[in-house]
Every structure is written in structure tokens, then in C-alpha cells.
Symmetry: C2
Subunit: 279 residues, 2 copies
């Protein structure tokens, strides 16, 4: 097995032609800004052999970037996959990984446009996703106003409760609706509601109050507040605007020290998934 | 040390503001196509602690992508750095890495626009570089014609002879000159002349003949043919065109079986740096 054999096999598994030049040549959509995000998935940190299937790993490696594009209200275009293969990854694992990634990519019309292949003692995958919005229309974290209402796109904690073994569904459609609706601020809940709401409030220069936390079936309040990997969007709307169907009101943005979050009358610590924390 | 502290430190070392939204928002240049490349650098495969300095690792992590953009005649815009830190990487190493990367980025006007941070047992860095060319003007591997002359931008084998511990200089300026000159085919010699010339000839549907191999001071013919990591460009020009100053003629493209390369009257095996080979 050499690099060229592997690239040919990947082209087959993913249905893409990847043998080409030193760079991918892409025509950017006119009148638009690009959204670019990169996310690294590491064996032992983000998944474990034996617990998570190769298909689920490929799916999740792409899902994280898609969720970032969703949070900014973007349309999707291309992805790039850099993979450092470990001795534990055989051809079968690799086929499952690319099939999982491709299954999610097709669902959302993303093209696998390139990447890199190398080896390592521990498997890691870095996925770059490129999307776009009309110029000046990307949703950001920083436009929230005191008085805006806060919503999430669904109940939280499902992935944490499952041992992170579900196939998450990034909220691309809702992200587009929120862009058209001109939500004032938006973020995806990748590191837990507590930490990501702190980030949104800090960027917007306001405080936040949580009144209700919608908890997924089988999950606990702790999963919902700090479990992370929710792949749901958290967003702010002025009181005059109605949220997209299925979204759940959780509280409000308020005047106060930027980034402070309260829940049931008490201050909530900004704590969630952090690969560098001692948790 | 948590993720936010690290991101703040990186912003300081690199002189960039990186604390922001879920994606970078980039305005693509008008009337142009984008060039995108990703390259992964892994400890133990591409560099070793104790042998290569943190500064050199940061430099090289970016240099590989810049060389890919140079090979397609691109102008440079942005880069993204995903880093999985190992327990062996302390704050000092990380500062050296970002300073090395930033030193090369500044030299070529590339902005660090984002990335990801996580941890791993073994350090790996994945760098995405985005450049552009006017639409339809990117240099590719596939336009070479029988009769074209082959050139390289400098003597080969220097990095292999040095134990890969030099700071390579990607040939961006020459790449731009070759784009204006409309070189028929171009590739960077990242995996050794033997393998990369095979790739160019195969993509162009022609054979190639090497007459002369310019060998860097201190290097051997083997280093020059198969050492890899040369960061020089290999390109083809019709006989009517003069190459940029400093370039060295090495042979010609010829009619024959696509991808076949001959040297001193014998067929040269397409063999070079391959992380999956048994070498």
C-alpha cells in the first residue's frame, strides 16, 4: 500500500476524483464572502477505536465543520480532509471513515476537494470546510442586544448522554433561516450551553439569563449544560421576531457585565468541553 | 493553561487577532479562482524534537503549502493552522512554532486567519493555505507538450543532505513569473525529482528525458533524485520561451509512454518520499 494506491481508493470510496495538482482550483461564488473553518479529530480525545465505528468517525469529522458553517448562516461548498493514519487503521477502517464522511457530505451538497495523507502513532483527522454567505450577511456572535430573546434549535445533552456515539445532524437549514431572519447573534453549542452562551454574551457585550434548559431524552441537566458536542444552534432574536419552527426559548440577553450567565438566579460558571482542561 | 489562554498567547506570538466566530469570514478577490492546499506535519515522520527547532517546525509547516501555491503560480492570501499538541510540547515550544510560522507568513504577506487546537500523544500540525490566480490562469501539471524544455528553479538535494533541517524558501516569485510566461506545466519538487517529474509527465500524457541534474552543494545525486522536500519548482516551457533568470535546464518532454522518465539512457523508477512506503 503506497500513497497513490490510498488516494485512488479514497477517490473510489468518496466518489470524488482527487488525483490532481498541488492545489485544488475553486471558483468562488460571486458577490459573496467565504466562511472557512478547520476542526481536528484525534483518536483517544474525540473518539475511541472499539467504541466508535469508522463510519461514525468520518461522519463526525465533517459534522463539526458543517455545524460551524450552520452557526454563521452559510451555504456549503467544499471540504478538505487531512489524515494521519496510525498502525491501528487498516484499509477497512479507512473505507468506513470515508464512506461516513461522504454520506454526510452528499446530504448537504459538499464536495471533497482535496486533502493530505500521512501517518502517525495516533490517528488524527483535520477537516477544513468552506462555505459562503452574501457579503455582510454572515451571522456572528457579537450582534446580540440586551432584551433579545435566546433560543436553541433542539433539546441538549443527547450526545453526551450517548457517550458521543450518535451521528449528529448539523443545523444547516435552520442556519439559513436565521440568516434570512437576521438573527442578531448565533453560535453552535459545540462545547456545552454554559460555555458557548458565555462566549456569545461576551462577544455581544451583554449578560445572559437562562430560564429553561430543554434536556434531551436520556440526558441530565449536567449533560445539557456542560456535555458539549450538541450540534444545536444557540441564537438571539429581537422580541419582535418569531423563531423558526421547532426552536425552543431558553432565556434572554440582559444588561450587565459582558459574558456573565445566570441560571435559576445564580451565576453559572463558563465551563464545558476543553481539551486542555484538567477534567 | 486552557484553550482560551492558548489562543490568546498564539494571537500575541503571531500578531493576529484570532478570537472570533465559528468560522473566518474572508472576502475573495474578484475575477479570480482560489487555490487551496492542506499539508500535515507529524512529529517523528516530518520532524523530530531535539533535531529540529520549534521555529524550524513552524516555518516548514507553512512552507509546504506555500510551495504548492507557488507551483500553481498563485498569489497568497490566508492560512489556517490546526495543531494537536503532545505532552512534550510546552509553552516555549509553541511560542517558537508560531514565531517560525509567522516569520515566513510575513515574508510572503499571508494572514493567519484561524485554526483549531487540541491535544494528542504525538504532535501534528495541519496547515491550510488559500491563494488565487486570475480565472483560468493557474499553472497545472497537465499542459506539457512533447518538445517542451524542462527546467528547475535551483540545485536539488540540499534539504535531504542537511537532514531536512534547513529553512526552505518557497519559490513564490518564480511561480508568478512562470504564470505570466504561461509555462505549460509546473509542479513543486516535494517528493524528489524522480517521482515529481513522473507525475508531471503522466498528467501531461508524455514521457520525459533528464539530461542533467543540478546537485546542491554537499548533496549527492541520490539526494537530488529521490531525497524530497526540495521546495524548488519543476516546469516545462516551449523552446521559443526563455526561462526566468537562475533557472536550470534539466531535459525535455518527449513523445512516448505517459509518465516514463529516462536518465542517462536508462529508465528512472518513479520513487521518492512516500510516508507509506517501506523505506
Amino acid at each position: 500500500m503506497n500513497e497513490l494506491d490510498l488516494i485512488r481508493a479514497i477517490a473510489r470510496w468518496s466518489g470524488n476524483t482527487l488525483i490532481g495538482d498541488d492545489c485544488a482550483i475553486l471558483t468562488p461564488p460571486r458577490g459573496r464572502q467565504l466562511l472557512v473553518t478547520t476542526d481536528m479529530l484525534v483518536e483517544g480525545i474525540h473518539f475511541r477505536f472499539g467504541v466508535h465505528s469508522a463510519h461514525d468517525c468520518g461522519w463526525k469529522a465533517l459534522a463539526r465543520g458543517l455545524s460551524d458553517i450552520a452557526a454563521m448562516g452559510g451555504d456549503l461548498h467544499w471540504c478538505f480532509v487531512s489524515l494521519a493514519l496510525s498502525p491501528a487503521t487498516d484499509r477497512e477502517w479507512l473505507a468506513g471513515f470515508y464512506r461516513g464522511l461522504t454520506a454526510l457530505a452528499r446530504r448537504h451538497g459538499v464536495s471533497l476537494a482535496g486533502g493530505d495523507l500521512t501517518r502517525s502513532a495516533q490517528l488524527s483527522a483535520d477537516v477544513t470546510v468552506i462555505g459562503s454567505t452574501p457579503t455582510g450577511r454572515a451571522l456572528t456572535r457579537s450582534g446580540g442586544q440586551a432584551g433579545d430573546r435566546l433560543y436553541v434549535t433542539g433539546p441538549l445533552g443527547a450526545l453526551a448522554a450517548s457517550g458521543y456515539s450518535l451521528r449528529p445532524e448539523p443545523r444547516l437549514d435552520t442556519g439559513l433561516r436565521l440568516r434570512r431572519l437576521r438573527a442578531t447573534a448565533c453560535i453552535d453549542i459545540s462545547d456545552g450551553l454554559s460555555l458557548d452562551l458565555h462566549r456569545l454574551a461576551l462577544a455581544s457585550g451583554v449578560s445572559a439569563r437562562i430560564d429553561e434548559v430543554p434536556i434531551a431524552s436520556g440526558a441530565t441537566l449536567e449533560h445539557a449544560l456542560r456535555g458539549g458536542e450538541d450540534y444545536e444552534l444557540l441564537f438571539a432574536l429581537p422580541p419582535s421576531k418569531r423563531p423558526p419552527k421547532g426552536c425552543i426559548r431558553i432565556g434572554s440577553l440582559t444588561q450587565g457585565k459582558p459574558g456573565t450567565v445566570s441560571f435559576r438566579g445564580k451565576r453559572l460558571r463558563a465551563q464545558g468541553w476543553d481539551p486542555f482542561s484538567s477534567r
